[in-house]
Symmetry: D2
Subunit: 276 residues, 4 copies
Amino acid sequence: MDKWTLLIDTVDQKGLIHKVSGVLFNDNLNVIKTNEFVDHDNNRFFMRSEIEGDVHEDKILDELKEIIPNATVKLTPVKKKEIVVLVTKESHAIGDMLIKHEFGELNATIKAVIGNHDVLQPLVEKFNLPFHYITHEGKSREDHEKEIREVIDSYNPEYVVLAKYMRILTPKFIENLENKIINIHHSFLPAFIGANPYKQAYERGVKIIGATSHFVNNDLDEGPIIYQSITPVDHTYSWQDMMSKGKDVEKNVLTSALKLVFNDQVFVHGNKTIIL
Amino acid sequence: MDKWTLLIDTVDQKGLIHKVSGVLFNDNLNVIKTNEFVDHDNNRFFMRSEIEGDVHEDKILDELKEIIPNATVKLTPVKKKEIVVLVTKESHAIGDMLIKHEFGELNATIKAVIGNHDVLQPLVEKFNLPFHYITHEGKSREDHEKEIREVIDSYNPEYVVLAKYMRILTPKFIENLENKIINIHHSFLPAFIGANPYKQAYERGVKIIGATSHFVNNDLDEGPIIYQSITPVDHTYSWQDMMSKGKDVEKNVLTSALKLVFNDQVFVHGNKTIIL
Amino acid sequence: MDKWTLLIDTVDQKGLIHKVSGVLFNDNLNVIKTNEFVDHDNNRFFMRSEIEGDVHEDKILDELKEIIPNATVKLTPVKKKEIVVLVTKESHAIGDMLIKHEFGELNATIKAVIGNHDVLQPLVEKFNLPFHYITHEGKSREDHEKEIREVIDSYNPEYVVLAKYMRILTPKFIENLENKIINIHHSFLPAFIGANPYKQAYERGVKIIGATSHFVNNDLDEGPIIYQSITPVDHTYSWQDMMSKGKDVEKNVLTSALKLVFNDQVFVHGNKTIIL
Amino acid sequence: MDKWTLLIDTVDQKGLIHKVSGVLFNDNLNVIKTNEFVDHDNNRFFMRSEIEGDVHEDKILDELKEIIPNATVKLTPVKKKEIVVLVTKESHAIGDMLIKHEFGELNATIKAVIGNHDVLQPLVEKFNLPFHYITHEGKSREDHEKEIREVIDSYNPEYVVLAKYMRILTPKFIENLENKIINIHHSFLPAFIGANPYKQAYERGVKIIGATSHFVNNDLDEGPIIYQSITPVDHTYSWQDMMSKGKDVEKNVLTSALKLVFNDQVFVHGNKTIIL
């Protein structure tokens, strides 16, 4: 028996739950889990159902189209997402992903890893995964990004994960990958946007540092936030100590966000996420 | 326009959401918020809806009875709960409740406070609330409890809050108050059950202490847990330091739990809570 | 036997601990607790000792002056600080302080509360403390501040606590009160500086909100941070919900910071705190 | 210039800091950092100094012996500890250690990994580390442990790490390894001692789960606690979900504890740790 996830995002109106659940009931499907959220400020309805049974995809979509013609509906079989990962030099985020991937705990298949440095190539290849070393040196930003996009596109991934990829992306790069690129930012956004947030945090004398995983859009560090977490620090921490302690937070925040995204739990509306 | 909360707790079956939401839709009610949870291990369905509109209580209950005859259904207008609070000597939990109560932030009306000591009488009376001093001295536990129950019952409260009431309750006391008595326990249950948990925590050398708010049942410290929180400690803490730091956790845990309960968000099933 | 706290802040050099502890040893004093911190980046040494015994203040200061002539030395008997509190309309921060104060848990004596609104007057007076209502209406900022400063100065307090005082202070007001004014800011600084941080947090879609207690200097929200804490939120929170949940964090952060300050544990160096 | 760590654990008496710091000062050593703690309940003094300079080990130890003859003194050069790791089947704890080890972030050298199953052999060997598969099948507990101890002893490690080694150890095994074996326990001790703590946590309906890293002594799960951390859960979590979420906490708690131990920051006194 197949398992599917149904995501609905539409203008709110009376009776939506009744109508949508009616389609599932009449098709004799098992609803394992349903969550809804109504954003009253924006008059928007979000619903996520995990269903089980003899799913006739087109039939369900047709029936839903009839009752909520303007809704965004996503009906996907429960299976691992295919992803490509971008890295630079730091090992902690990709390392955690590789270990989880190796033991079936990532809920995704890593098709390839791309690095603008080759430091992490030996690590990735230990796990028998392709590593593409695409240096940015001697190239314009546009040419470098074009090269990377070609490799990404060759794998046709469902998501691109920036596991501490330390280069700014242009709008061109993001084209057709809206809400498909997940980044881990090493600060508790919106604090310390920009370069070296740990140094900024040290200089400001904060007592807590954090990390933020978010979808990437055109404004750097401004995309919809998926997950955040923090850890306490004090006056004894140099910014290098903060960076070192922050790494564990970063990797945990990233893999927590990935779990939500790969499990089809995350809606994006405007610049925010709704997580059901 | 009235606001009501609908709680349903029943054996799971296909189409429950569809059927229940149909009743609300057909009665032309506005569903502001709906949450469900299916406990597949116990084949149990829980649903909570906030509804708005021209609510005919009996009609809705009849219609629901028809489709889910064996369900436990609770339909309550959204309004402040009436409560009685029991205290001993410590001021932090009752203090926080009194401040919130005074400024309309408790979502409850404190009808009276009962103390087995009179230490807190002046504080409670500052806020023009009745304080009943019922000493346990020279009385059997049964007689003491009987006296307290009589005062409680005279107010006919919807909930009884033990805001650091430091006496063990007998099953007799709890009779007819099942899942109506909310306690704050000064440890991260089930660790350190029993007397002086901070001393126990100190002696065990834990690095985190906590507090637990739970419904009271016949087994002391064993009732369904509503809310828990923690705070870090280290080797420099004496058990008195732990107690002092723990007080802030205790009061926050208690008022967090009360918010959930008074907002009709808490189901009890077996020895667990489901919070929607 | 008296208890004193000794604070030393000076340029680092070899042997400082040996020399300073030598003074205490030779004067036959009991050192209950000592903590040091060397800020190697700024070549600065901080030391805090709790001492007990027959303390001859001038003698110790003279002896210390001899060995560390340029140090900032503070030798204070352990006793409650005298404070004045400023408020506007919100009850949670002052409420928590009043309860703790009433039961001897604040480590300070509240000499008076000043409000630019009179909403909190009845609460403060319940606890038999003077409340000065000094409206800002119809006054220039300068005149209003002058009036408040006169009342503050009449009490000659050791610290001024802004318990959700919602007015910007001018540099003139702060004069002679450097590192003596403690504020609670309702965001996880430096995120969401400025007006209505909860609304800003809501609009940014963050998954965690927080509060920050800091000393007030000339740049609003920019003073040395003493304590911070956070609480998770999600897409279901309106900004009013965030504000409501944030209140408990705010009051806890403020009273945690006050405990450190009133216990003479906080050094300020540049724009940072060192907490020993 | 060498860096050393000096640890002193002795009966408290007046002037200890002065005397000890005098030895370091007179030997013209640079004290980078010093921390002390006096356990007044047990009249015990603990001190940790990081020192730099021309360290003559024997001279310093002799000089210290003269002033504190009965103290436990440990003077160790700052360098990576040599360790042996024991595992069973779970990959998360050893995986995190291997990634950190590979990139120089563990502060230890893994000499070998021993497993009572061979599941993790391929992972460990990816990192070119020896894996010893020593099955317990068909062997008495004593014989199995003897075999393992022989392999451990052949590496003469400074610490043994149980990275989710799921076998109970006998007192015989622990002999001569007191405070040298570090375990990660998958519960917030002392809650849920014994088998399958996640199932116990699920059945008790707790709202927070945690993990504990501790030294191993004769009483299972009863050794001195080094580090603990927690993560919230709710009614939607099955015990398998708790286990899955708990894995990230476990690995973080273990590597946090290891950092403290390998950095010579942990004293053990009685059944507690003092962390300086």
